[in-house]
């Protein structure tokens, strides 16, 4: 049994909303509202949800790129929420992130060598010669070659840029990589190349991924377990096969049925949800999903359902199962 590498307990991130002449606090946006999960060593945990559900904020809070409001983040049995900046910087050698937009996450004025070499410098590899050697090695690992090192980001295609982003994340041999929508901006044929690369790298370097995406079929392909988020809360978390074959939460059911499949023979019962995701600054009382839920009951409006294990390894937050 693998041991947990990352444990999240009751993570919350509230953003203040300021208004009025004096910029006083007039409200809060509950971007992440009491989320808990664990990630085992060598595992890929997928997090899916629609835009604004807090999945990216969760990812960034884990690395403390955004300071969480409340909750505990345990990495390798060590609570990291209390660490000072210096200790945190050192720790980030072990926890890295890949961003969605390979156009915006690479500095256009730096060469690839500088971009990939920077984390090495930060983490103490001061010899320029060694860095150069390591950059070359990293570029080859992600399927680029040595001569790319002296080029600038604009000279690369989207897929190649994402490879550079991956090389940068790999630079210090991390244990955990948070992947924040790494393939969303890519074309289908390039997307599959990057997914395969990430899969290979995980095996080669024994990495653990938290894979954040909105594309359910991509998440299904790459993850071992999948968590579904809605309006800042985790609504369901289980093995991917269980989640896709037997979704329990009405939101997961609707989400899965909404994905168009390129199979003209497949006829499905489609649940089309009405309305939009409510605003997280003023979330509905009780269960956040009750305003759109086809199976909502009276209790859903009043009491927030607990996130509980209803079957072995199958966590759901819904009153239908309590």
């Amino acid at each position: 049994m693998a041991k947990p590498l990352l444990e999240i307990n009751g993570l919350k991130k509230y953003f203040d909303v300021k208004g009025g002449v004096f910029g006083r606090k007039v409200g809060e946006v509950k971007a992440v509202d009491d989320v808990s999960f664990t990630v085992m060593e060598g595992e890929i945990l997928g997090i899916v949800g629609e835009s604004g559900c807090g999945k990216s904020t969760t990812g960034k809070s884990i690395l403390r790129l955004i300071e969480p409001t409340e909750g505990e983040v345990k990495f390798d049995d060590r609570d990291i929420t209390g660490l000072d900046e210096d200790a945190m910087r050192k720790l980030r050698g072990d926890m890295q992130i890949i961003f969605q937009d390979p156009y915006a996450s690479l500095n256009p004025r730096h060469t690839v060598e500088k971009i990939v070499g920077e984390p090495l410098l930060v983490h103490g590899m001061t010899s320029a010669g060694k860095r150069k050697e390591r950059v070359k090695e990293l570029l080859e690992v992600v399927g680029l070659s040595e001569y790319h090192a002296s080029r600038y980001p604009h000279q690369f295609s989207g897929g190649q840029r994402q490879r550079i982003g991956i090389a940068r994340a790999l630079a210090n041999n991390p244990k955990l990589i948070i992947c924040d929508e790494p393939v969303s901006a890519l074309d289908v044929s390039v997307q599959s190349q990057i997914l395969n690369l990430m899969e290979e790298l995980r095996e080669e370097f024994n990495l653990t991924y938290v894979f954040i995406a909105h594309d359910l079929s991509v998440v299904k392909h790459i993850s071992h377990r999948v968590g579904v988020m809605y309006l800042g809360r985790m609504v369901e978390l289980t093995d991917k096969d269980k989640l896709y074959d037997d979704p329990k939460h009405p939101y997961t059911q609707a989400l899965l049925s909404a994905v168009p499949t390129p199979d003209p023979d497949e006829k499905r019962e489609r649940v089309i949800l009405e309305g939009d995701v409510p605003s997280p600054s003023n979330p509905p009382t009780g269960c956040a999903f009750h305003t759109r839920c086809p199976q909502a009951m009276d209790i859903c409006k009043e009491v927030r359902p607990r996130f509980e294990e209803i079957e072995d390894n199958h966590f759901v937050a819904c009153h239908l199962y309590t």
């Binding site: 074309d187 289908v188 079929s217 390129p262």
Partner: protein, 338 residues
Amino acid sequence: MSDIVLELKDLHTHFFTDSGEVPAVDGVSLTVNKGEVVGIVGESGCGKSVTSLSVMQLVPNPPGRIVGGEINFKDENLVNASNKRMKQIRGNEIAMIFQEPMTSLDPLFKIGNQMVEGIRLHEKVSKQEARNRSIELLKLVGIPRADEVIDDYPHQLSGGMRQRVMIAMSMACNPELLIADEPTTALDVTIQAQILDLMRNLNKEKDTAIMLITHDLGVVAEICDRVVVMYAGQVIEEGTTREILKAPNHPYTKGLIRSLPNMKQKEQKLYSIPGTVPKPKMGRIGCRFAPRCEFAFDRCFQEDPALYQLENGRSSRCFLNDKTEGSLTGNGETIVGN
């Protein structure tokens, strides 16, 4: 049924840039029949958006220009149509919706003003009448509280609502053809399902032909009757949605379908087409896809393949369909077996 609404014949749209002439659309021919939903699929840079902009004469000029071919809308060739005539057509006979609903609505004007302006441009009606009609349209596309929303500004609406407003605007004058350029790409899946449902209903009820541009084969399977696959400015395959998705003929289409992560299968390794989409350039000889194609042989690099006509109105731009090159059966099996 087969009244042709739009016919493109050998359309060439080139861009004249500082670094030379770029053939973004390089000889595209296709037809859209009355009441039909035709999907145009391809990766970014394959010329699908430029094709649709060419129909509306919206390609920025300079640098872009239609250098050859015909765009026949009903019995009229739009390539040489005057600006005045195009203004009558745009929004009235052919309407268009874009990918990003935020940038296609003017943030400084209320929804109602923008809709009324469009209606009054094409029809002689009073402001009040146009406003009433706008409210009707907003209700038609499923906007709750339509009589209040009409006085909202675009930033007060969510992405899905904005796209609904765009669709309402485009339906204002009962166009015969609706060009939808990636209408759901910026939206979440549950909202995407709502919008696709809405477009399907409009197509059924009003018999509007739809030309849907997308990169998502799932969306195509959902709504399209026929599919045109584009690669590097050319049509490379055409057929009914069912046939294209079930039995693709061109190696590119095959690869594209195989590289999709599937929610049903439990394959560990995804298939991927090596390399990336080539940049369009002038004077290229040979099949555009040959450098990435696993079936490519010498002839693919030496001559341009024609669009071979197959049975059931299908066509495919690949030498493997040339009778003189031998049978295709061997290749048909590789996709099943792998």
